[in-house]
Symmetry: C2
Subunit: 321 residues, 2 copies
Amino acid sequence: MILNRRLALGATLAATAAPFISSTQAQQAPVPVGQVTSYYRYRVGDIEVTAVNDGTFSRPLDGLISNAPLPEVKKALIDAFLPDDKLTIPFTSLVLRTGGKLVLIDAGNGNNGPATTGAWMRNFRAAGFDPAEVDQVVFSHFHSDHISGSRLKDGTAVFPRAELAVPAAEWAFWMDDARMAAASEAMKGAFANVRRVLGPVAGTVKRFEWDREVAPGVTAINAVGHTPGHTAFAITSGAGRMLVLSDTANHPALFVRNPDWSGVFDMDGDQARSTRRRLLDMAAADRMQVAFYHAPFPATGFIAREGNTFRMVPVDWQPAI
Amino acid sequence: MILNRRLALGATLAATAAPFISSTQAQQAPVPVGQVTSYYRYRVGDIEVTAVNDGTFSRPLDGLISNAPLPEVKKALIDAFLPDDKLTIPFTSLVLRTGGKLVLIDAGNGNNGPATTGAWMRNFRAAGFDPAEVDQVVFSHFHSDHISGSRLKDGTAVFPRAELAVPAAEWAFWMDDARMAAASEAMKGAFANVRRVLGPVAGTVKRFEWDREVAPGVTAINAVGHTPGHTAFAITSGAGRMLVLSDTANHPALFVRNPDWSGVFDMDGDQARSTRRRLLDMAAADRMQVAFYHAPFPATGFIAREGNTFRMVPVDWQPAI
């Protein structure tokens, strides 16, 4: 969309608004090539949910899945009519207006991710929000693409008023100095990023246990495996229910269709597969709406059981709320 | 989205742009409840395609399908995780930038549709287009939700510079006075609307035959049955190909999953079912991207064969183009 593209480029107010003043002026605008802003609003009972996308990241297939041969992985992508030479992973976090509070579940890559990410703040603002409004940020786990959006690389807290809430088990793992010292070089980077982002709020961060309400209508659920404290969330309001599955599955075309595959992202592959089956079974049996952090935008739908496996059925897009 | 909502309400420039100037001012904005603008941009080879939604219309299930019992229709909706007491039908037309021309395929309900439609012009402008830019409007058929967007009820031509192109067989049917005279009262309304919208351009309208290129890279395809001149389109550019299936199937959860069902919309049910099988078979065999006028936004994806039936697989949303 012209407006957002120009805003992103830091254009002046006059230049930004001009194409909307009249038809004549609009004709002078350059040929538009921009994509629409990627936010999407829906309701779970009385809770207003806004899915806010942070971009995508494409990675090669080699080394992606440890317990399936590459041709099977390619076949799963082909069956989903996706390119079979890479996996394009979207990042979509949730903004909840619940109980008079503005609550985030995860915060995107911030300015610490690949160049094809970092759209979160633009999309969040386009959805009508301001970071200073945010009351609480709830994290599912401490991978960089979920937490880095809460603190810029220069140290600035992005949500100055917000209480940060974290899974107690996740905090215990990543803040353990002995574990960091024993970690591989690659993992040391992840530990360091957790400490960069969350270290400054160590005194005020709220550590939550599973099966507790962490925000109005939002209950934390043990979804361990992807990381040692990985958390899903049940959102309930009146008759409305949604299961926020976080990274219980990465792209559904691979991991909902093949729930027993072990992705390179999962720190404990066996535990992750067991958790995935348990939560997908629950979502399918209860016909609960689900949201995944890495599903195609708007990243929400349902889980249909098919024999011993599953399929994600995206919601029908509603152009009005 | 605040901006578009306010534009739709005719707010002033100053009020419109204010929430975007600074964080401080944004905090004074009212709580946003609006949905994001429903346009979506993608490419077919070198052709830029923009899907532009016009809203939705919900209708009861009674009388919807003539050759399936209501419980089976409800089951198909439940299988798709949709409400089983109504069918919500979206309307999405296409804007093509092809060969230096701006070409529409169908034009929405204009101001002649149900109250939950009529969003097309707002979404079209939000995508950066102006109606005065449009070089050509190609119609798939003459039902009101496809043609009324080209002429307001007060008689104004919406695309003042555009050449209108219509299927010759469709023109021959709807402009036949004897057929109109013999039509039922309900059908007489449809005839009258065709004449209201297209009568004023009878001298200049371009009538096209099937298997001919009607716009750069756009070839008309016989898809008869839904109406006597109903037309699909093949869009080709380099290695890019897409089949615009128009109303060959209404909502895919019903009519792609159950291609032999006869919908109340189809003027010749048997012919429509035969055409539907032929074109879905082709799309599945060739793995061609497809677009449907009445599929959930962004109304594009692929057709997977499953036994003797089909499933629509939506494209993965790309937040950048």
